[in-house]
């Protein structure tokens, strides 16, 4: 979907040639500045008069954003859509909660255990489904969480059935509840940013290119001698582990608890999909922000008493319907999602403001007039275009030489 590389300026190979911006300069590019500003605003929120209740919602939103990024790692990049990602969220959350409640394992150890088990679940689901081509992964992932939920209900004595388990020990303890919330908020924010950075670096590396290539043309990747299934399974298991981490951390906060409605319901899987679509698939940052936005807005809508005019239905009751409709409109008209579209719009705006100065869209070379005004949208086309112009220029020189 996101056909273009959105990385903007090069980060991987700074100053390979003299005309490229340095790493430092590229970090000063507008979109990174906006990003940094966002981080600063998020970091200052507890001091900006945000209430404890709202901070609690934000903690949940950050973990949901983490979860959305994990979904994006596999679905946005490889194009293998997981319809049941909640299974990893749940495996992580339940494992950690059960170890803590039943065996007194402290959260610092039970959370890693949850991550490991979620990764194992990723192997169990991913290997049989991803060795095949076509929609098998989607079919299997849609069924898997329902089966897990069934198991939880059958063994209700252990897993608490549909009502779920009681809350496990909190990750941080303090005398004042407010302090606990603020600490949890910073842990969530730190983890969110760390995972975002890690996934971004990974996806900007060779791995990300291979995964994107798989999404575009599986045969071509296989023809290049790469084991497509291996890469897909790796992305899937990585994604499962991150999803498990999000779930495991979430249950140890004051806002999350090990309940099917929070961790495992079919709705959770669909919500994460909607969130990532809203933000922009295949961008990590977009998916993460989409997750935060979705959770926060959904919570806001659920607390509204207002009713929608004409149909007389409470906003809180119809929130999922509204989001589904919104996601439908976005998939239909803006298939790249809001975040990539915003970047592109921002670039266009900047170009206009600076009077023609372009910002690179190919993730590599700085802007030059070769691609100015051309239709070339991807790096290959742009390179071809430059090559053609260079040839033309050369031709002109030779022609000029003859005439002299």
């Amino acid at each position: 979907m996101a056909d273009e590389n959105l990385s903007g300026e090069t980060v991987e190979n700074p100053s390979a040639t003299t005309d490229e911006p340095s790493l430092f300069a590229s970090l000063l590019a507008p979109r990174y500045l906006v990003g940094l500003l966002g981080v600063v605003v998020f970091a200052l929120l507890p001091f900006l008069g945000v209430s404890t209740t709202q901070l609690l919602v934000l903690i949940g939103a950050l973990y949901f954003g983490l979860f959305a990024m994990s979904w994006d790692t596999v679905s946005g990049y490889t194009g293998e859509i997981s319809f049941g990602h909640a299974i990893f969220f749940a495996v992580g959350g339940y494992t950690s909660a059960l170890l803590n409640l039943g065996h007194g394992v402290p959260p610092t150890l039970s959370i890693p255990a949850g991550v490991v088990l979620a990764a194992v679940a990723g192997v169990l689901i991913g290997v049989p489904a991803l060795r095949l081509r076509g929609p098998y992964l989607s079919l299997v992932t849609l069924v898997a969480p329902l089966i897990l939920l069934q198991t939880f209900i059958v063994y209700g004595g252990i897993f608490g059935g549909e009502l779920g388990l009681s809350s496990p020990a909190s990750l941080v303890t303090a005398d004042e509840f407010e302090l606990v919330v603020v600490a949890n908020y910073y842990i969530a924010l730190g983890l969110f940013l760390a995972v975002m950075l890690a996934l971004l670096l990974l996806m900007r590396s060779g791995l990300g290119s291979v995964l994107t290539a798989i999404r575009e043309d599986e045969d071509a990747v296989a023809a290049a001698g790469l084991d497509v299934a291996k890469f897909k399974v790796f992305a899937f298991v990585l994604s499962a582990a991150v999803g498990g981490l999000a779930g495991a951390m979430f249950v140890h906060t004051p806002v999350g608890s090990p309940q099917p409605s929070q961790l495992l319901g079919l709705i959770v899987s669909i919500e994460v999909l909607i969130a990532a679509i809203l933000g922009g698939m295949g961008t990590i940052v977009g998916a993460g922000l989409g997750g935060v936005f979705f959770y926060f807005t959904n919570d806001l809508l659920n607390q509204q008493d207002a009713t929608i005019p004409l149909v007389d239905v409470g906003v809180n009751e119809a929130s999922l319907l509204l989001f589904a409709l919104l996601a439908m409109v976005i998939v239909y008209f803006l298939p790249q999602g809001i975040f990539p579209s915003a970047i592109r719009a921002g670039r266009r705006g900047l170009r206009r403001a600076r009077g023609g100065e372009t910002v690179a869209t190919d993730g590599g070379r700085g802007p030059d007039e070769a691609t100015e005004g051309s239709d070339a949208t991807n790096p290959i086309e742009q390179t071809a275009e430059r090559y053609r112009r260079a040839l033309d220029a050369l031709n002109d020189r030779f022609d000029g030489g003859e005439n002299e």
């Binding site: 859509i81 299997v140 669909i270």
Partner: protein
């Protein structure tokens, strides 16, 4: 003591209804290469169309008509709106149909609430089979399922339109080369799938009950069915519907009712590991 006759009867009824659902699902995939995740919502729409028409006092036969016409129309709209316009991107169609099914479910949940609704039976009375009183309505369902499926086979094998559908499912490019309009063929497929699923919804609504989430379980069992039968194979879906249907009835009535859906998944995973092309599937490269 496990009641064998009861399992047999329930198994046949459920399997014949699953067959209706799965055949439509697999046809859409076989012909257009699209996974229609709103297929479960089509079932729900069929059931509720029948429910509204009958409770409005038009009689059950008008309800049957509604359960045919409304789902078929909805299915055609899905095709026209999503699948045809975005036919270049299978993933987008999958996501759009999933969202559409959420929209349908949520609208029904908000309007109707989560209370189950009973759809009146087509025919009254019971017939005794193997010492069990079986509703005549269910017999009608089984017979109708076979008549429809038989008719579909005849249609596909003996009419020119049917042969065009078959040709498109085998090779869209080849079919296009001999002048078959794939858009029209796809439209027929979606309409047929809508009719079959709508009728399945009608009978599921009178056999069990109708509610906003009633389409989920048949849709999800359809996955197991079409994977077992071979993605895109109608014959395979028919056989697999009975295998999965019976396994489902046996596990829920003889072992534990809470295990519903488990047999389907076990089969699904086994098939993926052992024979991913399914019982009657073509080579995976084609699919």
């Amino acid at each position: 003591m496990v009641d064998v006759a009861n399992i047999l009867i329930n198994g046949v009824v459920i399997s014949s209804l699953y067959a209706l659902v799965a055949i439509g699902f697999t046809m859409i995939f076989g012909v257009g290469g699209t996974i229609n995740l709103a297929h479960g919502a089509v079932i729900t729409i069929g059931a509720f169309a029948a429910y509204y028409v009958t409770t409005a006092g038009f009689g059950i036969w008008a309800g049957v008509f509604a359960a045919i016409a409304v789902p078929a129309l909805f299915s055609v709209l899905l095709y026209k709106g999503f699948a045809e316009r975005r036919s270049d991107n299978v993933i987008v169609v999958m996501i759009l149909t999933l969202l559409a099914s959420i929209v349908v479910e949520e609208v029904i949940r908000i309007v109707e609430g989560s209370q189950p609704r009973a759809i009146p039976t087509l025919v009254a009375g019971n017939t005794e089979i193997l010492g069990n009183a079986v509703q005549n309505n269910l017999l009608v369902a089984v017979v109708l399922s076979w008549v429809l499926i038989g008719g579909l086979f005849a249609f596909i094998n003996y009419t020119s339109t049917g042969k065009a559908i078959l040709a498109t499912s085998m090779s869209p490019r080849g079919a296009a080369l001999v002048g078959i309009e794939s858009d029209r063929i796809n439209l027929y497929t979606w309409a047929i799938a809508g009719v079959l699923a709508g009728l399945a919804g009608l009978f599921l609504g009178s056999y069990q009950t109708a509610n906003w989430a009633m389409g989920r379980e048949p849709l999800i069992l359809s996955f197991s069915i079409v994977v077992l039968g071979g993605l895109g194979s109608i014959r395979g879906s028919l056989v697999a519907a009975y295998v999965i249907g019976f396994l489902e009835v046996i596990t829920t009535s003889a072992i534990d009712p809470r295990l519903s859906g488990l047999a389907g998944l076990v089969i699904l995973v086994l098939v993926l590991l052992v024979r991913p092309e399914g019982l009657f599937g073509r080579e995976l490269a084609e699919a």
